[in-house]
Amino acid sequence: MISLTEAPFEPGALLASFCQARSETGAVATFTGIARAESGRAHILELEAYPGFTEAAIGKIAEEARRRFRLDDVLVLHRVGRIAPGEAIVFVATAASHRREAFEACDFLMDYLKSRAPFWKKEHGPEGARWIEPRAQDHADVARWEQKESTP
C-alpha cells in the first residue's frame, strides 16, 4: 500500500498492523526516516508532492521492488506538508519469505524514494528557507541498483 499523509504517524503501530495475519512471510524489514534538527538550523521541513502523480510513481518503484525481491507485501507511507524535527517523514515496510530479500528491498525502496520519487523538500530555519536537492551520495546510492540489474 502506498499513501501520503499530512498527519504525523506512529511507526510502531504501522509495523504491528503490517505484521498481522501473515503465515508465509518469514521476514519483515522496516525503515523509518526522521526529520533532523540539524543543530538548530532546521525548524520545519516542508515536503511538497504532486498529488496522484507522486503516488503512481512510488507505486511503480514498489512494483519493481516486489518483482526484484519476490516480496509478499510492501508498505510505503510518506509525509507531506510541514514536518517538525523528530517526526517521522517516511516509513517503509517489506515482507518476504526470508530476511535478505526483505532487507534489500527496504534499502532499494529508500534509495529510489530519496532521488526518484516526486517530492520537493524545503528546510525552514532561523536564516530563512532553502530547497534541498539530492546529494551526490543519493544519486550514487540509486545507481548501485541499476548496475546490479544490468549484470547478468
Binding site: 502523480f53 510518506h78 517516511v90 530519496k114 532521488s115 520519487a117 516526486p118 517530492f119 530547497w131 543519493d138
Partner: protein
Amino acid sequence: MARVLLFGPLRDLAGWRERDIAEATSISALKALLASEDARLGEALSAPGVQVALDQAIVRGDRSLGARAEVAFLPPMSGG
C-alpha cells in the same frame, strides 16, 4: 488551454503554483510564452534536471497540447 503546475524551487521563482494558459498549443510554445513574461523562469524551466510531465506522464522533447492538458515542470526530486 493548458493548466500549468510548478513544483519546488520553480514555484518560488515564479511566484505562482498553478495557472491556466489558453494560448499555448505545444510545450515549446508554452515555455517560450513563460520565458517572454519572465526570463529567469524561462531559463529555469529549460535547465538540465527539470523534467516535464504531460497529463501526469513524463515526456521528453516537444508535444502538442490538447484541450485541458496538464503540464507540470518538475525540478530535481528529493524525498525521504
